[in-house]
Symmetry: C2
């Protein structure tokens, strides 16, 4: 089987153990085979409402403005900043990986005076440094689960100390894989992606904004597509219950997300989280038993995304190619300066099982010996 | 069967004869069932390249920067303006429907000095008025096929008279349904949607930009997600052949679009256009034979999207609900002031056949008599 042979052999799919997308939940995959709905169809409005309500439950929020944006996770970041940053606003960004860096770029494009609080890659956000970086920022932004480093940070502690600032959290890799209580934690804005622990194909960005943040919004943001003033009527019925046309929603993708969320709730949120935790632990224990070392700081390691140091003298890309060509199995490289220094291994959504961790360890052992 | 029963009876799907989405080509629908690919998988890069090349052929362009953007058609409009409008630029917009109006809004958000050349709804763009609206605009923008009115305008004539301006064309409803030769016509920027005549679910925005337009681009647009400087490396290999990570592409949707384009080329582009033309003509002839009148001006009517006047005394919404509840069949209302005054009937993609036109006429006749 060559690296490009998936179309010749469509039954045998890739085993997606990179940093996302993962293999979707079967329910989400099958839902794409349902007949397509129009974007103004009452059945679709019902599906959108049900999806938004389940997103609220996963996130632990009562925010009315909770919806899947019609684009991938990065557009969620864009939406969060473009709707809330007024020119000259001070925005403190905790940077402990690629997605924190991206926040700095995005916030600056909207005229923010950005204070980037830099951290060493692989370490969690230092709450004290972030909180004291400025006496009165408008926004404090941080990544809950850094996809580039495999590190979880304490969003709740930021919320407890945010003062008058809005708290903005990137939840792309955390949603659906670990406990989140946005309202209790004091998070005002959050976004995610469909293709990680929610177990759906890439294409949607779950998004939520509190009433407090919405009141401080930009009246006419530079971005029409992601303008929450317009999206409110489209998705959440905030214009007196009546839905207004904004853009054509990706109806098939929303129905797929709905199916994944129903699957997650049928299994039970806590069971899903426990499954992710167990799979990640099994993988990390196994990697260390093989003599490998983990990149993320101990105590701050994500279960759903493990970062492992490429051993001295091992060709990172050769191992990945070996896994792909022999096992049809994808793991991720690092990003930027870490591209060849770490691997990123996802245990996300449907893939997050003990069994998969063991199979992956076996394949990796083979690759390390024979790649 | 109630309006919301599609999930209880998933085999019997909606017949989507509104202004889009239409029922996808079977090939595009089935492609969503293929195993998902990672966004950096060599097989996905190949699929993206093949898709972009087929988009070039459909559009009649050699633009290297031709790609499906990871969002719906309206994001294509956003991308076109945010990447090319410098603050204070004069942008002439031909407004003969909702999507021209939207262009005015979007261009203004990026600081353009917009000159809106207003037309009566239902009429095509008056090339002379648009060309003479300003002596030296930076951009001239128009909608090729107005989804809100069912009118086609002469983009080629605008191109022949554009002078030093860039010509920007909305091709959301034209792509895949009628001839386009963007290079010959002098179009510098165009965008579309996947869910109309291309016969794919909504979720992607095909996009193309000429070298000339790219040279005049905004160096750091306010929109990170749609920044063509970053997207060039992601999709089109303009950074020396190497692909750079930007965002996680909606891999499943791109593979679905690829399958639809392959289907279109297998049938033959001219055959596909002829099929759309014949289906639209059959529908329009049948509507007039029933005593109904068409909204769009004669000589400028789209085949793929027919607008018909709601007869005096007929409840527009009641007819649509009757079609939905009895035939599981969707047609569209008008937009804005025309919401209850016209219906919009699509003959797009897989749905564009003589046979469907006849079935639809029979259902509509029943509805007019009995709704």
């Amino acid at each position: 089987m060559t690296e490009n042979s998936v179309f010749e052999s469509p039954i045998v799919g890739r085993q997606l153990f990179g940093p996302g997308p993962c293999n979707p939940y079967p329910e989400a995959h099958l839902a794409l085979s349902l007949p397509l709905l129009g974007h103004l169809d009452p059945a679709f409005i019902d599906a959108m409402d049900a999806t938004s309500e389940m997103l609220r439950q996963v996130w632990g929020t009562r925010n009315q403005r909770t919806l899947p944006l019609s684009a991938t996770g990065s557009a969620g970041m864009e939406a969060a900043f473009v709707n809330t940053v007024h020119a000259g606003d001070v925005v403190v960004v905790a940077v402990n990986g690629l997605f924190g860096e991206r926040m700095v770029d995005v916030a600056a494009r909207h005229g923010a005076e950005v204070i980037a609080v830099e951290h060493e890659y692989g370490t969690p956000v230092d709450v004290e440094r972030v909180i004291t970086a400025h006496p009165n920022p408008k926004i404090i932004a941080a990544v809950h689960a850094e996809t580039s480093t495999g590190v979880v940070s304490d969003i709740q502690a930021l919320g407890e100390n945010k003062g008058d600032a809005l708290l903005l959290a990137d939840c792309v890799t955390s949603i659906g894989g670990m406990e989140m209580q946005l309202d209790d934690w004091g998070v005002d804005l959050a976004y995610a992606g469909s293709q990680k622990c929610l177990g759906v194909a890439p294409g949607l960005a779950p998004f939520t904004i509190s009433d407090q943040a919405f009141e401080r919004r930009v009246e006419k943001p530079s971005n029409w597509y992601l303008d929450l003033n317009l999206l409110g009527g489209y998705a959440t019925g905030t214009t007196g219950g009546r839905r207004t046309y904004h853009h054509t929603a990706p109806t098939g993708m929303v129905v797929s997300l709905k199916a994944a969320l129903e699957r997650i709730f049928a299994e039970g949120l806590q069971n899903v989280y426990a499954r992710h935790a167990a799979a990640g632990q099994a993988l990390q224990d196994g990697l260390e038993a093989m003599g490998l070392t983990l990149f993320a700081e101990e105590g701050s390691r994500l279960a759903q995304l493990t970062t492992v140091n490429v051993p001295e003298g091992v060709d990172s890309a050769a191992v990945r190619h070996y896994l792909m060509s022999k096992y049809n199995l994808e793991i991720g490289a690092g990003t930027g300066a870490y591209a060849a220094k770490i691997w990123r291994i996802g245990m996300m959504g449907h893939n997050a099982t003990d069994a998969n961790a063991n199979l992956l360890l076996a394949a990796l052992k083979d690759a390390l010996n024979n790649a």
